[in-house]
Amino acid sequence: MTSRILVVDDDTALAEMIGIVLETEGFDAVFCADGAEALTTWRDSEPDLILLDLMLPGMDGIEICTRVRAESGVPIIMLTARSDAEDVVAGLEAGADDYIVKPFNPKELVARIRTRLRPAVAVQPEAMHIGDLVVDVSGHEVRRGAEAIPLTPLEFDLLVALASKPQQVFSREALLEQVWGYHYKADTRLVNVHVQRLRAKIEADPDNPRIITTVRGVGYRAGKTR
């Protein structure tokens, strides 16, 4: 089954070029050039991933990101012309899984897309216990008691990565490689922002986390299984 990718970018030349690259790589591309129509197009086309330009007419990319996240965990990769701190952090906090800075090359783009589309890593235990959570790996579901906690695929991957080796400290670089697929030094803010988002969903008190704890100067680790 070919994955469908929604390209939201007002620059039609770039969108078309991205489309050519994606189709060459065997993806199915859908386009939207207007921020105001992005949500409608997204609901109609039900893509497997969204490539989202941050500067758009009609509706701001960050706003789109927030609204999509409110309804779905579909992977979102931001396309940004600026590597300036505020834009990137704002996008990640709005729920984007990853970002890619223009100008990028096709291989980089395809690698980022494939990482986000790949099926969850097969882990030996089908169900893991971490804190008071139950992680059903094959069912892609996290429950606290009877209550299911909705996570985006990325957040799920992050939780599984941490929970698969309880008590082991993961450096940010290791998490970038395992969850985001970066094999070189990348932006560690990706990890920080997404750990915050994950904590907001799974921790009883996000300001005083017990399930995913920070090890100062090193990285993160998941708490004891129960």
Partner: protein, 563 residues
């Protein structure tokens, strides 16, 4: 209009009191006041001049009064004594004496007592001029108040030698008063003719006690009034000057505050006088400066916005071009040779363009001052090791051997590792390119203040006029030299900018034939850095890599052991 805010400055008077308490500092303090206080100086000058004027006036007035008092008293004394002498002479002329010495003596005594009554003085002396002894003539007589010894010989000579019995002679003398003191006085002398026995000298002495007291009183009054006048004038000029210097001082304080960067301060303007004009001009100047600074600030903001917009606007089409050229390049095997080469060239030049754009944007970010460091504790030695590892393949292509000598610099220091890595990569790239395939020595060391990394090649080196310009934008040492590693000509400018952002330095040493040495020095946070690097910029070796004493690459302990 804003009044000058009186912020919590240290109370000036308290400071003054402290410095004035130490009397040894007074000369210095006074000299300082003279130099720095217009009011003090002006008041002091006014005081001195007024005091001098009043002193001269008082002295001349005192002298005139003294003179006048003396003259009038003298005239009065002379008149008194003449009247008394005339009366006495008349008495003597009318007396009938029968050549009886006793009667003669009695006559003289009565004349003396009448003289005393007439002339209102009891200091009287009568001395016979003719010294020939005579039975009849009394020898003379004097009262207690006037000892004949007090009368000077000159006066006596004048009186004795007088041909006219009416002529008066006078002289100032000091008269003994009752309690042993001497009071100023006048002795008036003239002749008195006794019937039958001839002329006598008559002396009447008058003291000037009263006139003298009057004079003292007048003089004392004069001095008191003069001193009071001087003080009064000093006080008046102090207050008058205050109304001038206070606004001036206020203006000076306000300008200082304006110069310190508080652009909102203004002077309070009252009225229409010169000071008000000064205040208005000052405020107009401040308004103009503020407006210009605001304009410049706005321009800078516009510039930053422009850079940011250019960034976005250029990057989007560049992305399309890049994607397209990559596609073409990937499929160049399917083209004929000319097309294939075109695709290859396009691809390479698009990459070069991208690097150039990135560097240009980075530079304009420095110019706009919008770069922020992302500091994290990093071991410079391990960072150098990393970069050497990533560059070893390139070095191998050039036949250069990369060596690391790291006696220090292992413990983590706060720095932006991305930027420092970029600097080291840039320096190494340059060294590899210009190193003529000879070994390249990377040195890392540290001291209490700073950590430093030096990159030394033993290539051709540069002439001094060239090495001075290596940090200039788009500058190339030898324009004709073939560039093998694509560089934009901005690398060292960016490296220098990064070094300065860290508060550090990037220095270069180079000599033709001996190679080049770049040293990057980063101060440790919170340490006073005097610019001295743990690694000297001038390596001081003989320019030959054989006698470095380092022939084997040094194996570093692995990361993480000492953080």
């Amino acid at each position: 209009m804003l009044r000058m805010p009186h912020v919590a400055a240290p109370p000036r008077t308290a400071v003054r009191l402290r410095t004035w308490r130490d009397w040894r500092a007074w000369p210095d303090n006074l000299a300082q006041l003279w130099r720095r206080s217009l009011r003090f100086r002006t008041v002091l000058v006014a005081l001195a001049l007024t005091a001098l004027t009043i002193l001269v006036a008082c002295i001349s007035m005192a002298l005139a009064i003294q003179n006048n008092l003396f003259n009038s008293r003298r005239d009065q004394v002379l008149a008194d004594s003449r009247r008394a002498a005339d009366t006495a002479q008349t008495t003597l002329d009318d007396a009938v004496v029968q050549s009886d010495p006793v009667q003669m003596q009695n006559l003289l005594n009565s004349v003396v007592s009448s003289l005393a009554q007439q002339s209102s003085t009891d200091r009287i002396a009568v001395i016979r001029i003719n010294t020939t002894p005579s039975q009849l003539a009394p020898q003379g007589s004097h009262t207690d108040g006037l000892d004949p010894d007090l009368i000077s010989p000159e006066l006596r000579r004048h009186v004795q030698g007088s041909t006219n019995a009416d002529t008066q002679w006078w002289q100032s003398v000091g008269l003994p008063s009752g309690n042993g003191r001497v009071t100023p006085g006048i002795v008036v002398g003239q002749q008195l003719v006794m019937p039958d026995v001839g002329p006598y000298e008559l002396y009447l002495a008058f003291d000037l006690q009263v006139a003298s007291q009057t004079l003292s009183f007048v003089q004392a009054t004069l001095w008191i009034v003069g001193t009071a006048l001087v003080l009064l004038i000093a006080a008046i000029s102090w207050f008058v000057l205050r109304s001038v210097t206070t606004p001036i001082r206020e203006a000076a304080d306000t300008s200082a505050e304006l110069a310190a960067g508080n652009l909102d301060v203004r002077l309070a303007v009252h009225g229409d006088d010169e000071l008000a004009t000064l205040g208005r001009s000052f405020n107009a100047m401040a308004d103009s400066i503020q407006a210009q600074i605001k304009e410049l600030g706005d321009l800078s903001l516009v510039q930053q916005r422009f850079v940011s917009d250019v960034s976005h606007e250029l990057r989007t089409p560049l992305t399309t071009i890049k994607l397209a050229s990559d596609m073409l390049n990937d499929h160049r095997g399917e083209f004929d040779p000319a097309m294939s080469r075109s695709a290859e060239l396009l691809h390479a030049q698009v990459q070069r363009f991208e690097v150039l754009l990135t560097d240009l944007l980075e530079i304009s970010r420095y110019d706009a001052g919008s770069v922020q460091l992302e500091l994290e504790p990093t071991s410079l030695a391990h960072l150098a090791e990393d970069v050497i590892g990533s560059m070893s393949q390139l070095a191998e292509q050039f036949g250069a051997d990369l060596r690391l000598v790291a006696p220090g610099g292992y413990s983590p220091v706060d720095m932006d590792p991305r930027r420092i890595r970029r600097i080291v990569r840039n320096l190494l790239g340059n060294a590899i390119e210009h190193g003529e395939g000879r070994p390249i020595v990377v040195t890392v060391d540290s001291n209490q203040q700073a950590v430093a990394i030096g990159v030394r090649d033993f290539g051709l080196g540069m002439a001094p006029e060239d090495s001075e310009r290596v940090f200039d934008r788009f500058w190339r040492a030898d324009p004709s030299r073939k560039r093998t590693i694509g560089g934009t000509g901005l690398g060292l400018s960016i490296s220098l900018g990064d070094a300065h952002l860290h508060g550090g330095t990037l220095t270069v040493w180079s000599q033709v034939g001996r190679g080049t040495n770049f040293v990057l020095t980063l101060p440790r946070p919170g340490q006073a850095f005097d610019g001295r690097s743990p690694i000297p910029t001038d390596p001081g070796d003989e320019g030959s890599f054989e006698n470095l004493g380092v022939t084997q690459p040094i194996v570093l302990p692995k990361t993480g052991s000492e953080s």
